[in-house]
Amino acid sequence: MTKSKLQITEFNCESGEQIVRDATTEEIAQMEIDSANAKAIKAESDAKAAQRQVILDRLGLTTEEAAILLS
């Protein structure tokens, strides 16, 4: 399967022109870093959510009940 190229829509305020161009190597690298960071943050969030659920299960509380206790 051919991977589609990442593209950027760029509007140059000086020329007033909008172009769609392929992302540069540096931009692609940054996107990969951003994606990796997002995945890491999501994994951390998911882990916290799982921990939270374990605790709630141990206490026998629903998420809504826990929210009421913390509100």
């Binding site: 593209q7 829509t9 305020c13 909008q18």
Partner: protein
């Protein structure tokens, strides 16, 4: 010649009168004249003849009152005047008006000058001393960039540096492809210099209430889900300032892909960098329209 005389009705001798009657006739005539002009008798030096009644030849010698006015001097705002004869005075301020719309303004104590009307749309302004017509410099918001994008990231570059603030509006029909949401970067700077305090809500509950230093202003990425649509408004204040504390506030609302939960972000942030902001980037692919305004 009429007889009696046409104006005064004095009886003169008739052509058929006997010569011997002439002395008596002249006596009648003379006496009539004498009687009618009796009022002209008398008087003294400087007196004037004044009508006593509307009756013909009814006069009285009168002494005129001494005149109070010996001259008319044109004061401030008045021209003309004089000390004899007919005197004309003119309101100089009135004659300074020459054209419809003219105004008169003081040029000093007791002096004035015409100020012709301005051109269409001008307003009366002042430099603190003198009034003049001036145009109001265009304020408000000016579109610096606008357009539509389809499933790409957005980069707005070469931003005009002559405005005070920037206002970014995104109206996206989808945002955040895959599991990644949408963030905003300035000057394509990916360093952890984006300080922001934000509250991100999903359907009223708060998955994130964060105050952190990150590599972008987080708009929708807290939700770890692509939005089916979202709108963003972002103010970037004093964006040309080289002070390393540029304040930003932004609000966004979207819907998750099941169209069941509103995704809301309210945040105040700071871009901790001395560079003036010349470009804005989205992090995450978007589809929809954008407008960037320069705000005076």
């Amino acid at each position: 010649m009429s007889n009696p005389t046409s104006n005064f009705g004095w009886q003169m001798p008739e052509p058929t009168d006997l010569v011997t009657d002439l002395p008596a006739d002249f006596e009648v005539f003379g006496q009539a004249v004498d009687t009618d002009f009796a009022d002209l008798n008398g008087g003294t030096t400087g007196q004037l003849l004044s009508k006593t009644s509307a009756t013909d030849l009814d006069f009285t010698w009168v002494t005129p009152n001494a005149g109070d006015i010996t001259g008319v001097t044109a004061g401030t705002g008045i021209s003309g005047g004089g000390t004899s004869g007919d005197v004309t005075v003119t309101n100089s301020m009135a004659t300074a008006f020459t054209t419809s719309g003219d105004l008169i303004q003081a040029t000093g104590s007791g002096t004035f000058a015409r100020l012709g009307t301005g051109t269409n749309g001008q307003y009366l302004t002042t430099n603190g001393t003198t009034n003049s017509w001036g145009s109001i410099s265009a304020g408000g918001m000016t579109v610096l960039a606008s357009g539509s994008i389809t499933n790409t990231t957005l980069s707005i570059t070469s931003i005009d540096q002559t405005y005070t603030n920037l206002f970014l509006y995104l109206n996206m029909t989808s945002g955040g492809a895959g599991a990644y949401g949408v963030d905003i970067r300035l000057n394509a700077n990916s360093n952890s210099i984006y300080s922001n305090c934000r509250l991100a809500l999903v359907n009223g509950s708060a998955p994130v209430a964060a105050s952190s230093l990150e590599s972008a202003f987080r708009v929708q990425s807290d939700f770890f889900a692509a939005a089916s649509s979202f709108q963003l408004t972002m103010n970037i204040y004093q964006y040309t300032n080289t002070d390393p504390r540029k304040i930003v506030d932004y609000n966004s609302i979207g819907l998750d892909q099941s169209y069941s939960a509103p995704l809301v972000t309210n945040a105040t942030g700071q871009f901790a960098n001395t560079s003036a902001i010349t470009s804005i980037q989205t992090v995450g692919s978007l589809t929809g329209s954008y407008i960037l305004y320069g705000v005076k």
